[in-house]
Symmetry: C2
Subunit: 428 residues, 2 copies
């Protein structure tokens, strides 16, 4: 959301800086200690799943009669995969339910591609001279951390209102056989809330790639995490890939972490039959099966797709006011300053706040000095390097309403302080 | 247990073969379909943990006040680690509780050693010309499968009554810098039930190794799984390694899979502070924390070390009669034949049955033809190659008592059939 063009008050720039400075002094005097760093659900959101804590009760068999308490069942419980198949746009037969974290699945897909051979690959990625991933920016720091961990080179690609800039993506993947993948959060993207357009999905599926084993890591983390009445639908990427003759191109990830319990949910992997067989085979030596009792617990609690939708509406009732508070205060405090723009997401967990070039780190530092912990500036970019040093990620879910008010008021003060300091310095 | 020296009956060898053949015909006629392949707990054993299925109930905070429902807490719940610290002989501060499977932890330690750099290592194992592990035989097929998966060469080492033959081990690790590890199941070893002597533990800890990053993979899977009044204690390997100036030599693994629920338990990793920091760091990019709700559930259910001991006595009451049945029938049916020897374990999940050289595969094949599924012959050896083709692993835990009786009677028949066939062929 771009605020109205700065209708600067009659105050001179030095006067505005003076006001910002005294506001910041007042902020320091409050001696706050508040944390806005991570996209964690609040305790009240977790309370929505209280029933899970005493399930499955006296039941322990799945719909097909499997004793969920014992070893086995590597694919996960069919009834749970059926509930999520539609949301993740993957047929239940091609969807695995494993572990408690989609991040772990992404990590493990990289590991298995490094140490094993992907369908379509000429060799293990560990044996390639160079492996690179495209990283739409701003993006999710934990994706970047996985690349860094494994020495996978990261190439930033700018985001547009329709998703990654596909002209850039198409050129890079066509030219460079070392480009083996791209990170995508296609719906309510982390952190800017972007939803990929159908055309973006189509182009990702259809584009020629120099690498025969190129993969789209499709982290559909916010598939059902709507903040408005409009429940955004994105195009079916798995179907689009198959239709374009690239059936093995995409790995779909999802989880219930921000649906049920963040630390005790269920994660999903979906893909083509060949990729599913590859991951199943690659994992077979590692695991004697996922925690099926937790999957049964989830299937009993969520019941069906409508159960998930009803449940997510309750999350929305808790989350929406927090997002509204952030947006209201940003508009009130920064709307007429010309110092910031921000996203107004229709779903997901984050708002991005863009401050003047070169100011993000300083805003975060000043906020930290005032006891307000923000996600480190730069975290939204590969190697923690935001070349314009301007993007700040705001995660409103965890603090309670009054804390959010206090934090965002404080952040706005820091933005005015740092922004006006810069303008004054430039003017002098 | 070596049976009494064969006091052959008056029957001639051909007569004994004739009897075995007609017994086998009778076995075929029963058209059985029974499975003795895996070391799975029985449904009645899983029933012992029924209370877990409705825990933690209305509680969700750990002893230190952490909300177990949310992200975080990478080390796992301290109160659960404290319960198992003594059994696993690792200080709670050096013990991590993560995931539902120690096999996954072993896999991931290999992955992190391949793609990262172990404390003491000159380089990543992926960058070594050759990586080899010592594999005491008979051993656990899933250990061997992990090596095979990652191209780690396996070097068999014979087991003795005190554990691996340490003269062989010491020579191999001193000579060959490519030998980076050894698989050990130190108590009630899978599959032969051996308990490592204190001297074996001391020598493993003290021996000079050519590889500076040599690791003992100490899979203490049966730490509390006693079958007799004698609750075997083994020497403290982590302490012995530290005392010998090799503090980082050992990775200790354990889990509750065969204590509570096989598919929904908690796994443990313990080691030196440097190794724990290494695994914590290596896993940090992968995980936003383990399922702490399941850990809380376990801590509430098991309560303390005495709670674990009491619980394991209930397992023993269910398991001991099954092992006794196997041993009784083997003695009755094979004791005077000279065709077999077998282990009489004091704990764990398996009995090994050694048949005449060259006969194990054929016994398993004949049993399969009669509807009796046994662990494939050779599974107890690297590359599924038992050079003497003589060792069969018997897993009595899962079937009920009457099934075990039927299976072991059948197996004994197959041993007599195949053994006498061999003797007759040799005599002719």
């Amino acid at each position: 959301m771009t605020p109205p063009a700065p209708a600067h008050s009659a105050d001179s720039l030095p006067a505005r800086l003076d006001t910002a400075r005294s506001d910041y002094e007042a902020l320091l005097a409050k001696k706050l200690s508040l944390d806005l760093t991570r996209g964690k659900p609040s305790a009240r959101q977790l309370d929505l799943s209280a029933e899970l804590l005493s399930l499955p009760g006296d039941r322990y068999t799945s719909a097909d009669g499997t004793d969920c308490r014992n070893y086995g069942g590597a694919d996960g419980l069919l009834e749970l995969r059926q509930i999520f198949a539609g949301f993740l746009q993957v047929p239940a037969g091609q969807l695995l339910a494993v572990g408690n974290s989609s991040l772990e699945l992404m990590h493990d897909c990289l590991v298995h591609a490094l140490l094993g051979t992907l369908p379509g690959a000429a060799r293990r990625w560990a044996d390639e001279e160079r492996v690179a991933f495209l990283c739409p920016v701003p993006g999710y720091d934990r994706h970047f951390a996985l690349c860094e961990r494994f020495g996978i080179e990261m190439i930033p690609v700018p985001m547009t209102a329709d998703g990654p800039d596909m002209d850039v993506v198409e050129r890079l993947v066509a030219e460079d056989p070392a480009v083996k993948g791209i990170w995508c959060v296609p719906k309510y993207s982390n952190p800017d809330g972007t939803c990929y357009s159908d055309e973006t999905v189509r182009r990702l599926a259809a584009m020629p790639t120099a690498a025969p084993d190129f993969r789209v890591f499709w982290d559909n983390a916010y598939a059902v995490h709507h903040l408005t009445d409009e429940e955004v639908e994105i195009a079916d990427v798995l179907g689009a890939c198959a239709d374009s003759g690239h059936p093995d191109r995409v790995f779909v990830f999802g989880s219930t972490s921000k649906i049920t319990l963040a630390g005790a949910g269920v994660a999903f992997f979906g893909s083509s039959p060949a990729n599913v067989a590859w991951l199943r085979g690659s994992s077979a030596k590692r695991s004697i099966g996922p925690d099926k009792v937790n999957q049964l617990r989830h299937a009993m609690f969520l019941r069906d797709a409508d159960g998930v939708r009803d449940h997510m509406r309750k999350h929305r009732e808790l989350l929406r006011p927090k997002f509204d508070t952030v947006l209201r205060i940003l508009a009130e405090r920064l709307g007429d300053t010309g110092l910031a723009t921000w996203s107004a997401p229709r779903g997901g967990y984050f708002i991005t706040l863009d401050v003047p070039d070169g100011c993000a780190r300083e805003v975060v530092r000043r906020a930290a000095d005032a006891g307000l912990a923000l996600t480190p500036a730069g975290a939204t970019h590969p190697y923690r390097d935001d070349p314009r040093d301007r993007t700040i990620r705001i995660a409103p879910s965890f603090p309670d309403a009054s804390e959010i008010e206090e934090i965002i008021e404080g952040v706005a003060t820091c933005v005015r302080l740092v922004g006006y300091e810069k303008l004054v310095a430039e003017a002098s």
